[in-house]
Symmetry: C2
Subunit: 452 residues, 2 copies
Amino acid sequence: MCVCVCVCVCVCVCVVRPPAGQEAYIKKTFTRMLPVIKDYSLSPRTSRIWGGGQWNSFHPTVKQCRNGWTTSVLSKLLFALPNSPLQYPIQGYTVQPLSSFVIPGLQLHAGKRSSYKVVLKVSKGILTTDIPPAEVTVKGFREKEMIIKSRSLELLNDVLVKVSYTSTVYHINTGDLVTFQFENHEAVFPIAIKQPHIPVLYDMGTDISSQVTIATKTFLRYEQLKVLLDSIRKFYSNIKVIVADDSFEPEHITGENIQHYIMPPAQGWFAGRNLAVSQVTTKYFLWVDDDFLFTEKTKIEKLVEVMEAVPELDVVGGSVKENQFYFSLIYEEGEETEGGCLYRKSNKKFHSVPGYPQCFLASGVVNFFLARTDAVQRVGFDPKLQRIAHSEFFMDGLGYLLVATCGDVSIGHQHVARSARYSKFRNPRKDDSEFKLQLHFFKNHLKCIKYG
Amino acid sequence: MCVCVCVCVCVCVCVVRPPAGQEAYIKKTFTRMLPVIKDYSLSPRTSRIWGGGQWNSFHPTVKQCRNGWTTSVLSKLLFALPNSPLQYPIQGYTVQPLSSFVIPGLQLHAGKRSSYKVVLKVSKGILTTDIPPAEVTVKGFREKEMIIKSRSLELLNDVLVKVSYTSTVYHINTGDLVTFQFENHEAVFPIAIKQPHIPVLYDMGTDISSQVTIATKTFLRYEQLKVLLDSIRKFYSNIKVIVADDSFEPEHITGENIQHYIMPPAQGWFAGRNLAVSQVTTKYFLWVDDDFLFTEKTKIEKLVEVMEAVPELDVVGGSVKENQFYFSLIYEEGEETEGGCLYRKSNKKFHSVPGYPQCFLASGVVNFFLARTDAVQRVGFDPKLQRIAHSEFFMDGLGYLLVATCGDVSIGHQHVARSARYSKFRNPRKDDSEFKLQLHFFKNHLKCIKYG
């Protein structure tokens, strides 16, 4: 889906992250030249944004966008029409870019005629077939339109069954439509044009430390971090721990299998999370906050078991000191110019995970979770979110991450008073909260958000 | 596509990165319990691996895998059969998980009968329709199989056109097949079940520094890095530069808009690249090596122009001191147990980019390129590649990144003798090269690689 952001009759900017999972992804960009409107009103609870800060202004009278958007031919609604003598593939025919593949199953099953003529047309490639017998004429070898004629239906079908499509435009993920016509019957069917991916395998090894890396971010809390690290070592003596650190005066962190990364001071929460995850080499990583505490109930193996048994899962959350927080997200796409609506419903989950009645599907979980490394790396933690954020990761992950929450694995939480210096950054100021909302509305092209 | 890695009759491990772009992704994992075979022979040029190091051993007599693999219903080859009275959608019908949507275009166009009966069947959801008139009987409300009967074809079609599919299993990207049957005619068509994604927009601003971040990795080359940074500032006074640094004795890097990240010493090349890219907040980033040198020909705007004009592009490379290196990759999937073959062809490109005759499509380019941040973050630089790597990024990106090379933008290259200490890490030792190949064979499930 491509969205354009428009204000008045200005030319606008939108870059849409390609929706993985659709047959082809579309991006459209526009140049933005907008005045910045400073006045805005928004309420974090049920918010509509009328104007805002540095990203954009949304004027309620916006109606037009100078540029349109494009949709993939592989999303186009197509039908098989009834009582047609044509036989053709409707799904599963894929060719590699700049390659030729026979179109499977092309046939004509017409009643008796003195002669038969079929026409095939394509747009992003050309058609070929074998040299036909004398009784069949083929016009349009290696062209976009091929006409096959014969007095013999059988011989015409022998030629049809060998028709090949050759993709002539290099593209890694696109499609074409074939028009197949006989008399007043016409069928349109899709061809997917895709560059195959190379598989990526992980070595699971035999030990939890080959399968899971612990990742965390720390800021001005070395005491708590050391308590966390000691508690990890009590139960997992050699599991690797990655620490992203944007403290003002970084301290040296000692210990085997601890990778410590020093960031620009106060660079930010999600920048640190994205950094830590970028360094993981194991199949899974376990996210923990720097003030958590491993206990006997922090059994990483149980989370791995669920993930291994249910390969579609990407994130499995647990409980933080018996607080099994989770939420669901409802997203309504809305009109292209206006944007969509997003609802977060706390403590709302979907059904249970097959075979694991203690685990339920949801849209987001607490900050203690096991995740499939490559899946989370593909979504990422937006480094623009510096001070406060949580649900935003799961919102960016909507439709990309399958998330579950399991009630039987928990981690402790250190209760230590926050230093004044830390609190200054941790407790959101009014402009932090507003920045976050403005970013959210612009970045995710929303007209409304409701946090419930 | 799901691949399983097997050795002898052991139970094996494979985790396949979901191929984005296919209608549904499948993962299958296996537990590995393998002895490690130390003997191996491989030649970097044309390599077959018979056994290897720490990742796995590939025994030439491997034939079986204990577990199978699954394919998505949305990849299944389906056909529209000829002379059928059934009308149905063949592409474009998508429902959201746990939601109901009317199946478009369902109709029966049969000849005169005393009565008509159609049967619809699904697997991952249920079927409903409106309360029918008295002349139509509907059996199977909210069930997987629905039977609709009537003496009136018109009334039966009125009911058919309101049949809805309700997805009953929460899944973000999957599909179902509908069987639609009348007398001896049967059609099978797909339903895509997808959680829509929330769009992600970038603010392009009005200045190159709002659009592009420069990213680099440095190791033991502070002199060269400073020369690079000075040369950047000569032409781009406030563009942000991200530096990932795994030097042994990190030095402080001064300067506005320079973000310096300190890594564990010698943590590695691709770990550093992945780190740097994880911190980018602009729509594009420009990758440069720490010994490059900006010149008057280093016009980032020209690369941005191409990317903006051709939204499908993800990476656009230039030249490094007139060396416009590029290559194409040919990948043959091979058998599931044996793996595929990968050929890298240097100086091989595809056709030109429409509208930009100086730019050509390829599979990989030199280490000076502008990239779409989200696209590259989705592929990533594998942090296991510590010492030497280049093509591996583009191999991981095959089918995910559309890559081009343009001859009209170049960057300089500082020619400074390498220190002995640096060379010790930079010049690959035999075990570095072998490690890289072993990783490559295992990770990408290959049986052969050819570097040309």
